[in-house]
């Protein structure tokens, strides 16, 4: 466990669990309004749902995304295609069914796609001018949705069972969940990267990137690759995609945001203990079994009196660790104090600013935390990766924790 800069006294800070009230098992709620994608003026076109007014959005059409999902939950955000970072989302606000708007993120975008090949070379930092390499999406590339300025798809899709509870003598209590999805595609050399954020009706956010397009075709020895094509003459070189996201959380506004890490030590024993670490200063952290983090607003509380937060889970990473000159790959989560010039996790294009995220961590006290999430995927090619290469996905989860006092259904 690497917890380099937080006060040692906090490392074993135990927290008594005071569980929030269980969600009331009420009667089936009436069917919500059909999902609606806002149109040109960004106005809601849904019927039957009256979400409370959110603060005036900071963007106008066609950059405003304002979506009410069938359960009445509403997501509102702005998008922008930046020259360097590509698709960037700002002012991300969630309004639970019958609830008030809660700001979650001030902004989020990719912060690097680092692709080192297994033989040691080449090693790419794929974020150059991502925005200049956006792929024009055809109608079929944005099923059921709306294309914004050719490069951005705004759509909704099912996310399977929101819940299913059997009840003796009664119909099952169940609902299909739905999510708003915002994505763009970028052509970076042989890869097409699908850069996607899903905003679900229960307040969760799933950022993920899919790599498709083509394999590089780089030939290597059998110790660094896998034979593709006929026979054993071509060994396709294995490689890793280390994808970094920058997330400027502003949970319920800019003030009072604190980042906590949760652990549950007790392996090999019958009991597990909840352990909370508060990051009072900039920090680097690595993933561990059952470990998660949250950004909590220390002042805002839900109707149960619990502090509102969004939780970050990063359990699907291949945890690539690079050589000394790639120290930015050596942690899975970085927490840094907001600085406008810190934009990319490596090859940061800002004179007078540190070059990579590991160097942003200087022990500064955190009053406005920015989170950097690093998710690795190790790609060992297979015959099925023949053109067009099937999409392989990597990402993580951001889940509300006590933003609502009950299941937001």
């Amino acid at each position: 466990m690497r917890l380099s800069v937080f006060p040692a006294a906090l490392l074993s800070c135990a927290l008594l669990v005071t569980c929030g009230a269980a969600a009331p098992a009420g009667a089936l709620t009436p069917a919500g309004a059909p999902a609606s994608t806002s149109t040109s003026a960004g106005a809601l076109t849904s019927a039957g749902v009256s979400a409370p007014a959110a603060p005036e959005p900071a963007c106008g059409s066609p950059y405003l995304i304002d979506q009410v999902l069938p359960n009445g939950a509403r997501w509102r955000l702005c998008w922008e295609m930046r020259v360097i970072e590509g698709l960037t989302l700002t002012g991300v606000t969630y309004t639970p069914p019958r609830g008030r708007p809660i700001k979650v993120l001030r902004s989020t975008a990719l912060a690097q796609i680092h692709v080192p090949y297994d033989s040691g070379e080449p090693r790419f930092h794929d974020i150059g001018t991502l925005g200049e390499n956006a792929v024009t999406l055809a109608s079929a590339d944005c099923p059921g949705g709306e294309r914004r300025e050719r490069f951005v798809c705004v759509t909704t899709r099912s996310r399977g069972h929101g819940y299913l509870k059997s009840r003796p003598g009664e119909p099952n209590l169940s609902a299909q969940g739905r999510e708003l999805v915002v994505y763009s595609a970028f052509q970076i050399g042989w890869y097409t990267y699908l850069v996607e954020w899903a905003f679900s009706d229960d307040g969760a956010i799933t950022p993920r990137v899919g790599a498709t397009g083509s394999l590089s075709g780089f030939d290597t020895g059998p110790e660094h690759g896998w034979p593709t094509r006929a026979g054993n003459t071509h060994i396709e070189q294995s490689h890793t995609h280390n994808i970094f996201w920058r997330l400027d959380f502003d949970v319920d506004g800019r003030k009072n945001d604190v980042v906590e890490q949760y652990d549950f030590p007790g392996s090999g024993t019958a009991k597990r203990t909840l352990s909370r670490t508060v990051f009072t200063k900039e920090a680097k952290a690595v993933t561990a079994p059952a470990r998660w983090w949250r950004v909590v607003d220390t002042e805002s509380r839900n109707a149960d009196g619990h502090r509102i937060s969004w939780e970050i889970g990063n359990s699907d990473s291949a945890r690539y660790r690079g050589p000394a000159d790639e120290a930015f790959t050596r942690a899975d989560l970085y927490v840094t104090q907001y600085r406008a010039c810190e934009r990319l996790a490596s090859a940061n294009p800002a004179p007078g600013c540190a070059a990579s995220v590991d160097r942003y961590v200087t022990g500064q006290r955190l009053t406005d935390p920015v989170l950097w999430v690093n998710v690795s995927y190790h790609h060992v090619a297979r015959d099925e990766d023949a053109d067009p290469m099937p999409t392989h996905w990597q990402g993580f989860r951001i889940t509300p924790r006590d933003a609502m006092a009950e299941n937001p259904r």
């Binding site: 059409s61 930046r82 794929d126």
Partner: protein, 225 residues
């Protein structure tokens, strides 16, 4: 997929110079520019084409002579989104000074019509602009060994000879030397790029050992791992 069309502007009474002052012109913007210039933009909207043109002009006002001679290049304009000024319409102009190998970011406040901040330094490299990528490709094609290999691969794939760099699908990435690399030490201070080159048959010849030193206008070959 378009970059903002870049036009040369006559500097003073001088003749059209290849490396004239560069302005990103409204009307044909890349994807990052707002396409709805008719109304006043909201604070978080992308920059409009008009704002990009104006920011380019303001940011390069004191650099025109050196831009004409190709010493300084305006790479692109990005919307400034510093939290400390989020109610302001600001633009960051990314500029590279080839004469001094210095990277400059000038922040323009569009309402005030002036540069309100400048940061400059050596070492950090902004991503290459499209114009730089094309220049790198021209240098590569002019190289007898590496250029010849690309031309031959193109002719095989297309069934006809390569006419110019614009026949290739290009993607330039900044190259930063790694401790294990030999042959590209100059790139510690120079502006260097690697090129990914797509041929008409959607294949990518291996160009990963080739580095284009744009500062010295030289082709370097990487050695070592």
């Amino acid at each position: 997929m378009g970059w903002g069309r870049i036009v040369m502007v006559l500097a003073g009474a001088g003749a059209m110079a290849l490396a004239g002052s560069l302005f990103l012109v409204s009307g044909e913007q890349g994807p990052q520019a707002a396409r709805s210039p008719l109304r006043t933009p909201s604070p978080a909207d992308p920059l409009t084409g008009e704002e990009i043109s104006r920011a380019s002009e303001i940011a390069s006002a004191t650099l025109r002579r050196r831009m004409t001679t190709g010493q300084v290049e305006l790479l692109y304009i990005e919307r400034g989104d510093d939290k400390a000024a989020e109610d302001r319409r600001r633009a960051d102009a990314y500029i590279y000074d080839y004469a001094a190998n210095r990277f400059i970011v000038r922040t323009v406040d569009l309402a005030e019509g002036r540069v309100v901040a400048e940061r400059a330094g050596r070492g950090a490299q902004p991503p290459p602009s499209r114009a730089e990528g094309e220049r790198a490709a021209e240098l590569l094609l002019a190289d007898r060994a590496h250029g010849g290999r690309i031309r031959a691969a193109y002719a095989r794939a297309a069934g006809r000879p390569l006419r110019s760099a614009s026949d290739l699908g290009l993607r330039a990435l900044v190259y930063t030397p790694r401790p294990a690399h030999r042959g590209a030490g100059a790139c510690a201070t120079h502006r260097c790029v690697r090129l990914l080159v797509r041929l008409p048959d959607a294949t990518w010849p291996d160009t990963t050992r080739i580095v284009v030193d744009l500062s010295a206008e030289k082709i370097l070959t990487l050695e070592g791992r």
